[in-house]
C-alpha cells in the first residue's frame, strides 16, 4: 500500500522554485531517506505534506487522501518534526506533551510517560524545557511526534543536536518503529551517513528537483568498488596514476588518502607501481561505492552537505 504519494509537487516563493515537480511514491513501512543540501527543498516538502504551506502546483496524497481536502483526518495518522522543534519553555517536558496529546484528541494514545521513556527522557523530570539541551528538545520532539501513535512519521533532520550516543539511540528507535509497528518513516537529512544507515530507499533532492531515487540495496549492488590508499606523497601518486596507468578518476582526501574509482581490480598493479617508484604505502583498501560518492556525483559537489 502506498503511504505517501506526490505528483508534480511544486512550491514557488515568488520567482524561486523551492520544490520543482517532485514525484514520490513511498510504500507503507518503508524508511525513505530524503537527502539534499541545505536549501534543497526538503523542509518545504515536509511542510507541504503536513499542510503547513499549500503547494503552488501538484498534489500530495497520504493513504490515498488528498492532503488539501482531508487535512484534518490525515494529520491524525501522521506525526512530524518540522525544523527545530519548538516547545513552551515555561513548561516541563511532560506538560508540553500533555498539551499536544489533548489537542490531538486521538483515541489511540500512548501514555506520555511511555513515550518519554521510549525516547530516553524522564517523564518526572521537573526541569523546564527552556533549560533543556538541544538533544533533549530533539528527543521531546520525537516523543511529541509519536504521541498519537502515527502510521507515518515525517522527520526533518531528526538527529540535529544529538550526541553520537543519542544518534545511535535514535537510529535504533526509528528502526524499531519501522519494523515492529510498520510505521512509514520519511526522513529528511543532509547527513549522508545517517540516511545511509537507516533508509531502505533514498531520494536525492537538489535545487528543488528530485534528481534520483535509489534503494540502498541497489546502491550496494550497483556500486562499483573503489580503492582507498594512504601514502606519503599524494601529489606524486596522482601524477603516477595519470601517466603510468591512465587513471584519472580519483579524489584526494585528508591525511594523504586518495580514493581511486573504477580501478578496484587493479589494486595489485597500483601497489606494485607505487612500490617501484619508492612511494610509501601505509594503507590500501578496497571499498564499496558509498552514498556520499553517489550524492556528490549527482549534485556535482556543487555544495557541501
Amino acid at each position: 500500500m502506498i503511504a505517501i504519494e506526490t505528483k508534480n509537487l511544486t512550491k514557488s516563493f515568488g520567482s524561486h522554485r523551492a520544490v520543482d515537480r517532485v514525484n514520490l511514491s513511498i510504500e507503507q513501512g518503508e524508511i525513505y531517506g530524503f537527502l539534499g543540501n541545505n536549501g534543497a527543498g526538503k523542509t518545504t516538502t515536509i511542510k507541504m505534506m503536513t499542510g503547513l504551506i499549500p503547494p503552488t502546483e501538484g498534489s500530495i496524497k497520504i493513504f490515498g487522501e488528498d492532503v488539501r481536502k482531508s487535512k484534518q483526518e490525515i494529520l491524525k495518522r501522521v506525526g512530524c518534526i518540522v525544523e527545530t522543534p519548538g516547545f513552551f519553555g515555561n513548561l516541563t517536558g511532560q506538560e508540553n506533551l500533555q498539551i499536544y496529546l489533548r489537542i490531538s484528541g486521538s483515541s489511540k494514545r500512548k501514555t506520555i510517560e511511555e513515550t518519554m521513556e521510549l525516547v530516553g527522557l524522564d517523564p518526572k523530570d521537573p526541569l523546564l524545557v527552556r533549560r533543556y539541551s538541544l538533544g533533549m528538545k530533539q528527543r521531546l520532539g520525537i516523543a511529541r511526534a509519536l504521541l498519537n501513535q502515527p502510521e507515518i512519521l515525517l522527520l526533518d533532520e531528526p538527529t540535529n543536536g544529538l550526541d553520537p550516543l543519542g544518534i545511535r539511540g535514535m537510529r535504533k528507535l526509528l528502526r524499531l518503529l519501522a519494523k515492529e509497528q510498520r510505521m512509514t518513516l520519511f526522513l529528511s537529512s543532509h547527513i549522508l551517513t545517517e540516511v545511509e544507515q537507516l533508509a531502505d530507499r533514498v531520494g536525492i533532492i537538489h535545487q528543488g528537483k528530485l534528481i534520483d531515487e535509489i534503494s540502498m540495496e541497489g546502491l550496494r549492488k550497483q556500486g562499483s568498488a573503489y580503492l582507498e590508499i594512504q601514502v606519503d606523497r599524494p601529489s606524486e601518486v596522482l601524477r603516477l596514476l595519470e601517466t603510468e596507468l591512465g587513471i584519472f578518476d580519483f579524489t584526494v582526501k585528508a591525511e594523504n588518502r586518495i580514493e581511486i574509482f573504477d580501478a578496484a581490480e587493479q589494486s595489485a598493479r597500483i601497489n606494485q607501481m607505487l612500490v617501484e617508484h619508492h612511494v610509501e604505502v601505509y594503507q590500501l583498501n578496497r571499498k564499496e561505492q558509498s552514498l556520499e560518492r553517489h550524492f556528490i556525483e549527482l549534485t556535482k559537489g556543487e555544495k557541501r552537505v
Binding site: 499542510g51 504551506i53 519548538g86
Partner: protein, 242 residues
C-alpha cells in the same frame, strides 16, 4: 472547555501573570498613598468617585497598556516559542485556536478588573471612604465587567497586528500609540466620541448634555473596529504560512 484549559496551560508560570496584577493595582494603590499623605485623609472622596477615577485611568491608560500587552503576549507566544508549526500540524482548526486564545485574554482581563475592584474596596475600607456598602460594591463589580466587555472588541486589532508582526513587542507599540492618540482625542469633542479607543469613556459614563454625541454611532464604530480586527485576524491566520 478542554481547549481553553490547554491555552491556560501554555501560559502557566508566566511572569506576566503576576506582573499584570501588579500593574493593574498601581492606580488604586497610588490613590491610597495620596489618601495617606493628604491632611484631610480621603478629602471628600466617595467610594463611587474613587471607583470612577480608577475606571477612567483603566479605560484610558492602564487598561489599554496592560490589556494590549496581555493580548499580544497570548497571541505571539506560539510564534515566539516556535511552537506554531507543531500545533498546526495537529488536527486542530485554526479559527478555533484563535478563539480559545481570545477567551484566555477575556478571562485574564476580567480577573484583573475584578481584582482591581477588590483592591479599591480594601483601600476604601482602610481609609474609611464614604459610600462603601454592598450595593455600591456590586455596582463597582458590574462596572468592571461592563468595562471588560466594552474593551474586548478593541483588542481584536491588537490581535491582527500581533499576528502580522509575530512579535510580542507589536502589542506594546500598538498600545503606546493608542494611549498617545487617546490623549489627543480626549481634547476634541468629536474625536473623543468617534475614535474607537476613547469610545469606552463615552459608554462608561454619562455623556454631558452640552456635547452633541451620538452614542449609537459610537457603539457602531466600536463594534465595527472589533469586527474588522476579528475578521482580519481569522482570514490572515487561515492563510498564514509557518
Amino acid at each position: 472547555m478542554k481547549q481553553l484549559q490547554l491555552e491556560f496551560l501554555k501560559i502557566k508560570r508566566s511572569p506576566l501573570i503576576l506582573l499584570s496584577f501588579l500593574g493593574i493595582s498601581i492606580v488604586p494603590l497610588l490613590m491610597g498613598v495620596i489618601f495617606s499623605k493628604n491632611v484631610n485623609g480621603v478629602d471628600g472622596t466617595t467610594f463611587a468617585s474613587f471607583v470612577e477615577d480608577v475606571q477612567m485611568m483603566n479605560l484610558m491608560v492602564m487598561g489599554i497598556m496592560m490589556f494590549g500587552l496581555i493580548t499580544s503576549y497570548v497571541f505571539s507566544k506560539e510564534f515566539e516559542e516556535n511552537t506554531l508549526k507543531s500545533t498546526l500540524a495537529i488536527p486542530v482548526r485554526r479559527s478555533r485556536l484563535l478563539w480559545d486564545k481570545f477567551l484566555v485574554v477575556f478571562v485574564w482581563i476580567m480577573c484583573l478588573l475584578v481584582a482591581n475592584v477588590i483592591e479599591v474596596v480594601v483601600i476604601s475600607m482602610i481609609w474609611g471612604v464614604e459610600g462603601l456598602n454592598l450595593s455600591s460594591i456590586a455596582t463597582a463589580f458590574g462596572m468592571a465587567i461592563r468595562d471588560g466587555l466594552i474593551f474586548m472588541p478593541l483588542l481584536t486589532p491588537i490581535v491582527l497586528v500581533t499576528l502580522l508582526v509575530r512579535r510580542y513587542v507589536a502589542g506594546i507599540v500598538f498600545s503606546i500609540t493608542v494611549v498617545v492618540i487617546n490623549v489627543v482625542a480626549l481634547s476634541s469633542e468629536v474625536y473623543y466620541a468617534y475614535y474607537p479607543y476613547t469610545i469606552p469613556l463615552v459608554l462608561a459614563g454619562p455623556v454631558p448634555e452640552e456635547m452633541s454625541i451620538s452614542v449609537p454611532i459610537s457603539i457602531m464604530i466600536l463594534l465595527a473596529t472589533g469586527l474588522v480586527g476579528a475578521v482580519g485576524s481569522v482570514i490572515y491566520f487561515q492563510k498564514i504560512s509557518v
